[in-house]
Symmetry: C2
Subunit: 199 residues, 2 copies
């Protein structure tokens, strides 16, 4: 017999399926919710229930959006010459937060992974070509993750769009801000040396 | 105009009201939920909506419970001589996890805080006396938090139950496991010296 009441245990179990929430955090959150106003709990529950219903993919960039085209693709103040290719919709907010990019996006919805049967047709790669060929784009920035799969995806796309005559770039590799050289991993430090910049 | 679709922003806002979940975690969780099976999202939402409905306070120990008496108070294998007084229902699972206590509990639902107008009558202190006087209890363990309010609450209860002729103890103070003496705070180290134990 569990010492934790079933309704609390149920919330804990559901919360502990989320990334980064272990059993202890789940318990703390469940007891916090127990002390929260009913309105706050209901708002969280209802926002969850209505999360997917109001969303679809933008038919231009394939970002998840509550309108079509999405608010980014509909923004006429952006620079149509720059197209940033990302793996996931969740990669867009961090790029936006930097304030350093004012172009448009293209969301692949994953990365190439032959071992798991994910080839180019499983991603939104085909839809990228007409956008690059449209004439407005002068640079494609490959912002895939610095992982084996992200690298393979970037290389595949580079080969594909190079004949279009646009500049193809990728995010810089090097030491992250605040890093300690003594504890940097070999690959990162190696890339930082390889890509050393004039100073 | 926000670049994040409204249904996602709404989940992020609701999640970011929980303790320990900042804007970045809320975003990560929201996008994770977006990729989760509908069933998992619905189970989380429904468990939240049904959290409080199935719960009430145990009429003996005042723990939140899905039955009355709660599963702990109904457990005949526990030692009725030991009564552990805690501030909150969420303090019970950690004490249980230690496996070192097999008695019963009494939940105060807070601690004395005159500055915020919380006196003895706002807590379940009055209900403690008949339990201590019942004859079965030989030791009351005060497991209030090692804070100013928890201390004041423990001292108040000690004065109250001492005339009942039971032993009154509190959780030991000292260095936490794995601590570094060099970095221990003055109060903790002072208490560890003050309460030094035979070895």
């Amino acid at each position: 017999m569990s010492i934790t009441a079933e309704p609390i245990a149920r919330v804990m179990l559901a919360l502990s399926k989320l990334p980064g929430i272990g059993p202890k955090s789940a318990q703390r959150l469940a007891y916090h919710l127990l002390d929260s106003p009913d309105m706050e709990i209901e708002e969280l529950a209802n926002s969850l229930l209505e999360l997917k219903g109001g969303l679809s993919l933008c038919s231009i960039c394939f970002n998840v959006a509550d309108r079509n085209p999405c608010s980014i693709c509909a923004d006429t103040h952006r620079d149509a010459a720059l197209l940033c290719v990302v793996e996931r919709p969740s990669d867009i907010p961090p790029v936006e937060r930097t304030g350093r990019f004012h172009g448009f996006y293209h969301v692949l919805h994953g990365s190439l992974n032959p071992a798991r049967g994910i080839g180019p047709d499983a991603l939104r790669i085909r839809e990228l070509l007409p956008r690059v060929r449209s004439g407005a784009v002068t640079e494609v920035i490959l912002a895939t993750n610095p992982t084996v799969e992200g690298e393979a995806t970037a290389m595949y796309i580079r080969q594909l769009v190079s004949p279009c005559g646009v500049r193809v770039t990728r995010l810089a590799r090097g030491l992250p801000f605040g890093a300690d050289i003594e504890y940097a991993d070999d690959i990162t430090l190696g890339q930082a040396i390889e890509s050393r910049q004039g100073f």
